[in-house]
Subunit: 279 residues, 4 copies
C-alpha cells in the first residue's frame, strides 16, 4: 500500500465552510441524534454538546429520561423527540426535516438500535453510526453516505477479524472494508484512519493520549454530526471533524496534564480551536 496522505491543518483551513451571513438556523441543517440509555446517559450529553458547537442549525435528540434532564442543564439549546426508539416503525414518523443523523453513543447494540438503523438507512440522510450502532450488517439499503466510527474493538466486532490481525495493517483493513461495505470507516486510535468507500484514504495527524478516556468517541460523533450539517462536502465534514477533535486535545496538553482531560473539555476548547483554522 502506498503512503497514505495526511489531512493537514492546511486542508482544514481550506475546506472549513464560512458561515453564510444570510443563513438562518434552517439553512444550517437540523440533525437527529439517537443516543443515551439508563446506564449510559452521559454519552448523549457529550454528543449533544459537541454537535451543537460544530456548526449545525438545530438538533433533536432521542434519548432516555435521565439524559433529558442532564442535557437540558448542560446544553439547553437541544430539543427532544421522546420515545423515538419505541415508535421507530410508526409510518407517521417523518425524517425529512433532518439533514443528518447519528446513532449509537450510549446505546446497547440491541434489536431496538438495529431496528432504528434499518428504518433510517433508506431515508437518504448522511448517517454516523458509532458505539452501540456498530454491529456486523449490510448497508445495501443506504441511500446516502454512511460513516462508521469504530475503535479497534468495535472494528473487530463489525468485521469478525481479530484485533491482532487488524493491527497488522489498520489502514489497509479500513480501506478494504470501506470498499466492501460501501461505507466510510473512521478507524479511531492514534493515527485515526479515514477510509472512504471509493478507496480514498487519509490519516489524521492530530490528537494524543489524553483522548484515551471514556467519552471522547461520543464527542467525536457529535462533532461529525454537526459538521455534516454545515459542510456542503460531506467528506470534508468527516475529515475536518476528526482533525479538529484531535486539535482540541493538542491544545489541551499545551498547559494541562494528558491524564486529566474529560471529553467535554474538547468541546469547551472548540470555539477557540475552530477559530484558529478560520484566520
Amino acid at each position: 500500500m502506498k503512503e497514505i496522505p495526511r489531512w493537514s491543518e492546511k486542508d482544514v483551513t481550506r475546506t472549513l465552510p464560512h458561515r453564510n451571513q444570510e443563513g438562518h438556523k434552517g439553512s444550517f441543517g437540523t440533525a437527529l441524534l439517537i443516543a443515551g440509555s439508563a446506564g449510559m446517559p452521559g454519552a448523549a450529553v457529550l454528543a449533544t454538546y459537541a454537535a451543537m458547537r460544530s456548526g449545525l442549525g438545530k438538533l433533536t435528540v432521542a434519548t432516555s429520561s435521565e439524559s433529558i434532564v442532564a442535557i437540558s442543564s448542560f446544553v439547553p439549546e437541544a430539543t427532544f423527540e421522546t420515545d423515538l426508539l419505541d415508535r421507530i416503525n410508526d409510518s407517521q414518523l417523518d425524517f425529512n426535516q433532518y439533514s443528518a443523523v447519528a446513532v449509537g453513543p450510549g446505546l446497547l447494540p440491541d434489536y431496538k438500535t438495529e431496528a432504528a438503523i434499518d428504518r433510517l438507512l433508506p431515508e437518504g440522510k448522511p448517517m454516523v453510526l458509532d458505539a452501540g450502532a456498530l454491529s456486523p450488517r449490510s448497508y445495501d439499503s443506504a441511500a446516502a453516505p454512511v460513516i462508521l466510527t469504530p475503535h479497534m474493538g468495535e472494528f473487530s466486532r463489525i468485521t469478525g477479524v481479530s484485533v491482532e490481525e487488524l493491527q497488522k495493517g489498520q489502514a489497509a483493513y479500513a480501506a478494504d472494508w470501506a470498499n466492501r461495505l460501501g461505507v466510510t470507516i473512521v478507524l479511531k486510535g492514534p493515527g485515526t484512519v479515514i477510509a472512504f468507500p471509493d478507496g480514498e484514504t487519509f490519516i489524521n495527524p492530530t490528537g494524543n493520549s489524553s483522548l484515551a478516556k471514556g467519552g471522547t468517541g461520543d464527542t467525536l460523533t457529535g462533532m461529525i454530526l454537526g459538521m455534516l450539517c454545515c459542510h456542503d462536502n460531506w467528506r470534508h465534514a468527516v475529515l475536518n471533524a476528526v482533525h479538529i477533535h484531535g486539535a482540541c486535545a493538542d491544545e489541551w496538553i499545551r498547559t494541562r496534564s494528558p491524564h486529566s482531560l474529560l471529553a467535554h473539555d474538547l468541546t469547551e476548547l472548540l470555539p477557540v480551536v475552530m477559530n484558529s483554522f478560520e484566520k
Copy 2:
C-alpha cells in the same frame, strides 16, 4: 418606503437605564415567563437565564417539571408557578404582581397556549409573544403593548403570507402588520426589523450568522422580558434588547468560531457587553 433608521450603539448608550441605587428587587419589576414543555425544556432554561441577567427584579417561571430541575441548577435565582397553564382560567389567579409577561419559548402553538394568551392580554401588562405563542389571532383585547418576535417562518404563519412574498419587503410587511394588528413586530433575522404599531420602524445593526442556531431566539425573548422590567420606556427596552443580543454575538466572533456559539453563551457575555454601553 424611505430609508429605515438603525438603532445604533449611541442610541443604546443614551437610553439604557442606570440602576437606581435606592431600588430594591420590587422596584425593578417582577416578570412572568410561560415557557418549556416535555420536548423543549431547554427553551425555558435559556429564556430564564437571559431574563435574569437583563435587569429585572424577580422572575417567576411557569414551566414543565423537566425544566424546573434544569433551571434550578442553571439559574437557581428563578422561582416557579406550578401547573399555571392548567389553572389559567382560575379566577383566583392574580397577575397584578407582574410588570411584564413573556409566553412561548418551548411551547407548542396549542389550545393551552392560546388560552393563556387570551387570559393575559386584557391584564394590562406588556407582553412578549414568541415561538409557540405566535399564531394568527387578534390583539384587540390587549390592554398594554404586545411584542411579537417571529422569525420569517413564524411571520408567515401569523400573516398567512408566504415566506417568498414576505422576503420581497420584510420591513414594509413588518410595518404593515404591526399597524394592522396593533402590536410591535420584531421580525428576526440578519438585519432584524423592529416595527412599532404607530409606524415607527428600526433596523438592528448588530448580530451575525453565529446566531443562526436553535435557542438564540429563546435567549432574545428572555432579554426583552428582562429589559421591559428595568426600562421606563418599553420601546427602548425592545430596541436595546435586540441590539445588545446581537452585540453579544459580535463579541463572540472576535475570538471564537461563529459555528460554535450556543445561545446561553450570549447570556454569559451579557454582563461585560452591557457594561460596554454604560461607560
Copy 3:
C-alpha cells in the same frame, strides 16, 4: 439618634478568622440549613452554595426533592437530611451535632416552618431566620443568638408597622425591635442596618443596586450561616458576612453591568474577595 458607626473594611480585616492549620472539618462546625420548596427550589441551592464557601466545616440541608438534585449538581459537597420538616417533632431528632442553623430561604411562612422554629429555638444554637421564617412571634424560648434578616417588606410583616412608617427611621426601628424581641436584626437594603439586641448598631458600607434582584438575600443567609461556623464571635460573623456580601457586588460592577448580576455570581467571586481581606 447619634451617628451610627459603619462596619468598615478595616474591621473585617481585623476580625476575619484565620483558618486554624490544625483544624479538621469538625473543628469548623456543621451547619443545618432548612430551605427550598417545590416553587422555590433554587433558594436552597443559593444558600447552600454561599454557606459552603463561607468557612464552615460541613453542611446538612433539609429541603425538597427538586432542590436535592439541583444542589447535588451545583454544590456536590452538601449532604441532606430528608423530610426533616415532617419529622421535626420527633423526639429522636438530635440537633447537638450542629453549630448553627438557618431557616427560611425558599420556604413559605406556614405552620411547618413555624413548627421547625419552635422546635429549634430552645436548642441553644445560633439561628438565622430569613424569608419564610420571618413572621411575627416571640423569641423568649431562644437559648442562643437569633439573627433575623428581613428586607423592608418582611420587617413590616414582623413588626406590623407599615413600610412608610419604617422608612422614616430604619435604624431606629431596627434597634428598637432588636431590643424588644431580644434578637439581632439585619435590616437589608441600601445601607443595611445591623442592630444587636443590646443596642449596638452598625451600618454596612458595601453593596450596590446590582443586589436588587431575587436570590441575593438567600445568598446572604448562606454566608451568615457559614461565617457563624468559623467565627468565635458571632457578632463579627454577622457583620463580616454582610460586609463581604456587599463587597462581592462591588467587585462585580467594576467590570460588569449592575443589571446582570445573579446571586450565585456573588458566591463565585467570594474566594477572591474574601482573600482581599486576608492580606
Copy 4:
C-alpha cells in the same frame, strides 16, 4: 520511631507516569466506584469527577438515582451499573473488567456496604475503602492491595482506639495497624500519614486547612482510584494522589481564601497542577 520520610515534589515528578502515546482507554484501566446514597448523593459526584481527571481510562459508577442525574450533568463521561448493591451476590456479576475499585464515599456503614466489600475483596483488584466502607473487619480474604483512607474519627472506629490515644502517635498507630490488618492506611489530616503493610511509611508535605471541609475526602478517594489505574506501581499511585490532592489546595490559597474552597475546586485545578509535575 525514627523520622518518617516525606513523599516530596521530586518523588512525584519522578514517579508520575507518562501517558503512553499508543494507549487507548482500555490500556489505562476501567475503575469501579461504589458511592452515593439518598442523603449523600454528592459524594459520588465528587469522587467520580476526581477519578475521571486522574488518569484512568473508563469509570463505572454504582450509585443512587439522585446521583445518576447529578453526575451526568457534572461528569457526563461516567457510565453506570444500576442497582449493583442489590445484586452484589449475583454469581453472574463479573468484576474482571475492572482494574481497581473504590467503595464508600456517601455510603452508610451498613450491611449492604459490608456485603459488597466481602464480595469484592477476593476478586484480586486493588481496592480503596473510604467513609461508609470503613468498619472494623479483617482483610484476610483480600487478594490484592487494600487502601483504607480514614480520618481520625474513622480510624478510631476501625481500631477501637480512642481519638485522644491515637493522637499521641498517629504515624506509629497507622504503621502498626497497617501491619496488623495487612492493608495500606492513609491516615488523613494535617500531615497525612501513608503506612504500607510492610512497614514503609511516609508523611505527605502538601495540603492546608482549606481542605477541612466536607467532600475533600471524597475527592481524594476519586484521585487515588484514578491514579491506581494509570500507575504500574500502586504505592506510587497512592502517594502521588495524596501529594497532588494537597498541592491543588496549596494552589488554591495562593490567590483565594482557605475558607472558601469546595472539594470540586480541587479537581478543577488538577489539570494544571498535575501538569506542573510533568515538566
